[in-house]
Symmetry: C2
Subunit: 231 residues, 2 copies
C-alpha cells in the first residue's frame, strides 16, 4: 500500500468506529429510556423508543455499506481485514442490543407498576449493570484495549447472578400473586432481555480482543443463562 492508500484506509476505519460508537450510544440510551418508561408506565415514551430503533438499524446498514466498500476497494490484509470484519460483526450485535430495548418498550403497556412494585424495582439495577457493560466494551473497542475487553467478560457473571435472582423472585411473586402472573411473565422476559444484553456485550468483548490481538479469548461459557430446576 502507498501512503495515500494507508491514509484513506485509516479514514474509512475511523468512520466505521465513529458509526459504531454512535450506534452504541443510541442503544444504551434506549435501554435506559425503556426502564424509565417502564417505571412511569409511560406509553408515549415507549412508542418513541420503538420508533427510534429505526435509527440504529439505519446506522447498521451504513456500517455494512462502508465495510463492504472498504474491503472491495482497499483490499486490506491480515490485521486491517480482521478489524473491518470485527466492525461489521460488532455493528450487528449492537443492532440486536437496540432490539432488546425496543422489545422492553413494547412490554410497557402490559405492565402496570402499581401491582408489581416489588420485582419492578430490581430491573433498573440490572439494566444499569448491562448498559455499563455495553459502554465499557465500546470504549475497549475504541481504545483497542484487550485488557478492558477481558474485564467486560468478568462483569457478565454479576449480570447472570442478578438474572438468576430476579427469576427466583418473580417465580415466588407469581406463586403469591396469581392475579399478576401475566404481568410477572412480561417482567421475566424483560429480565431475560437484559441478561442477553450482557451476553452480547461479552460477545463484542471477545471480538474486540480478537481484533486487537489475533488470539481468541478462550472458550468461555456463552449463551442463555438457565436457572436450575426447582429454583
Amino acid at each position: 500500500m502507498n501512503e495515500h492508500t494507508v491514509k484513506a484506509f485509516d479514514e474509512d476505519i475511523g468512520e466505521l468506529r465513529g458509526l459504531i460508537a454512535q450506534m452504541g450510544g443510541l442503544a444504551e440510551a434506549a435501554i435506559d429510556a425503556s426502564m424509565d418508561a417502564l417505571k412511569r408506565h409511560d406509553l408515549e415514551a415507549a412508542a418513541r423508543i420503538i420508533d427510534g430503533d429505526k435509527q440504529i438499524d439505519e446506522l447498521e446498514t451504513e456500517v455494512e455499506r462502508l465495510a463492504v466498500r472498504l474491503i472491495a476497494l482497499r483490499a486490506p490484509m491480515a490485521d486491517d481485514l480482521r478489524e473491518v470484519v470485527a466492525a461489521l460483526k460488532i455493528a450487528g450485535v449492537v443492532e440486536r442490543i437496540g432490539d432488546y430495548a425496543k422489545n422492553i418498550a413494547k412490554r410497557v403497556a402490559a405492565i402496570d407498576g402499581h401491582s408489581v412494585i416489588e420485582p419492578l424495582s430490581l430491573l433498573p439495577a440490572m439494566a444499569n449493570m448491562a448498559t455499563d457493560m455495553v459502554r465499557n466494551v465500546l470504549d475497549a473497542f475504541a481504545a483497542r484495549d484487550p485488557e478492558a475487553a477481558v474485564r467486560v467478560c468478568e462483569q457478565d457473571r454479576a449480570v447472570d447472578d442478578f438474572y438468576n435472582s430476579i427469576f427466583r423472585t418473580l417465580v415466588t411473586f407469581m406463586v403469591e400473586n396469581p392475579k399478576s402472573i401475566s404481568q410477572a411473565a412480561h417482567m421475566l422476559f424483560i429480565a431475560k432481555n437484559l441478561e442477553r444484553v450482557g451476553d452480547h456485550a461479552t460477545n463484542v468483548a471477545e471480538m474486540v480482543y480478537y481484533a486487537a490481538t489475533g488470539d481468541h479469548m478462550g472458550d468461555r461459557d456463552q449463551g442463555d443463562t438457565v436457572p436450575l430446576a426447582g429454583s
Copy 2:
C-alpha cells in the same frame, strides 16, 4: 472479469451456499431433537444438542472466512457482492437459530414432563411450524426464489398466533398450578425461542428477497411478539 475469474467466483459462491445449507440442516435437526429430548426428559440427548452447536458455530466461521476471501480476492460488483453479503448475514442468522435449539436443550433438565403434560403438548407443533419456515427459506435461498421468500414471511403470522395462544395457556396453567410455575416459566421461554426462530426465518426471507431482486420486501412488522396486557 475474464472467464476464469467468473468461474472461480461461481465456485466460491456455490461453496458458500453449500455451507449455509449444511448449517441450516443442522439447526433444523437440533430444534427437532430438542423437542424430542424435552418430551422424553432425555438429559443425555440434551447434552448432545448443546455440544453439537459448536459444529454450527464452526461452519459460520468458515462462511465468514470464505466470504471475506471472496470479496477481497474477486472484488465482486453489484449483484454478486449483494449475494456474498447476504450469505454472510444469513449464516449469522442460522447460527442464532442453532443457539435457540441449544437454549431449549438447556431447559430440558428444568422441566419434568409429568407435571406439565398439557402445555408441553403444544410446543412440538409450534416447533414444526418454525422449522418448516427455516427449511422453506433455505430452499428459497438455494433456488434464488423471491416468491418462495414472500410465502415464508406469510407463514410467520401463524407462528406468532400460536405463540400468543401458548402464552395465554401457560399463564392460565400457572394460575391453576402454582407449584409448577417455575417449570411453566421455562416453557414460556421455550415458546419464545421458537417464536424467535420464526422471526429469524422471516429475516432470512427478506435477505433472500433482497439478494434476488435488489428490492426490499417492504416494511413488515418485525421483532418480538408481545401478547396484549391482561391476556
